[in-house]
Subunit: 140 residues, 2 copies
DNA sequence: TTCTGTTTTAGAACTATTCTAATCTGTTGA
DNA sequence: TCAACAGATTAGAATAGTTCTAAAACAGAA
């Protein structure tokens, strides 16, 4: 009865995804989905859930993140070698990547046009189009 | 006097980039630039240079790849967490990424249109726009 | 409750990459 | 030509992020 959430609560969200609503997954789902759109790394989320006095192991954080991606609740964004971001916004959109700060900023799908996409190589089908606009601190 | 190369030879290419033309860098530059456009990982290039009976340490391969990127001879493409690709095509273009095979395929810059790019966040300037079209083996 | 399959966990293992400190090499200038 | 020095290379250790393993804990069904 308060925020604009796609599901009534984390429990229902997990049930809909066919994931058993364990304490750990509930805690993680709440952190991820009870705020607006977020871009988190596994380490960040792990730190948050520990701070929230709900100890969850790092392995479980990774497991849950991947299960959420598999269930379409989360999207993995790759911008940096050796570190994955998980995006709670799974609608059609793209990203600014602030290289200095290591931060992602959403660009709504309708705020950018990608046209004339050539046909994919023979025997393959397009799964997704990712546009990443890398920005840097403006030279003084 | 044979192939279509942007520089007469690896030696001149390194000199122009302000890099001392050592044996190792010459060997790597030849492998990278004497063929057409390539997308290699550090490990792949290391394996190639060893096969070519010119032992070069992995650390040197990484050093050289980064120096080549810094000199604008190479471009780093990030599509996978935990593995970098280096692209010898530094002109304006984009990529198909064949997820099953882990292969990159160039899309010439003029074969795709990215329009209406929104203004970058305050205080930042666009450094590069990357379009990655992820494709998968066509479902049978 | 008890049972069963799933989930969680600590810690080890793994992969890609970077660092370190010693050795070597290319270039410069005498 | 050669000495000297800055820069480059190297093996191996170290690091970061992630995945794996095997054992213990748990959720849900009966």
């Amino acid at each position: 009865m308060s925020g604009p959430r796609p599901f009534a609560n984390a429990l229902e969200l997990l049930r809909n995804a066919g994931l058993r609503p364990t304490r750990q997954r509930l805690a993680l789902a709440r952190l991820l989905f009870d705020q607006g759109d977020r871009h988190v790394t596994a380490e960040q989320l792990h730190a948050e859930v520990l701070t929230a006095s709900m100890p969850v192991s790092l392995a479980t954080v990774y497991n849950a993140l991947h299960q959420f991606v598999g269930a379409g609740l989360l999207r993995e964004v790759v911008v940096n070698p050796g570190r994955s971001y998980f995006d709670t916004n799974v609608s059609d959109h793209h990203h600014f990547f602030l290289e200095d700060a290591g931060k992602l900023v959403d660009i709504p799908g309708d705020r950018i046009d990608v046209a004339n996409v050539p046909a994919p190589p023979a025997g393959t089908a397009i799964r997704r189009v990712d546009v990443i606009i890398r920005v840097e601190r403006e030279p003084a």
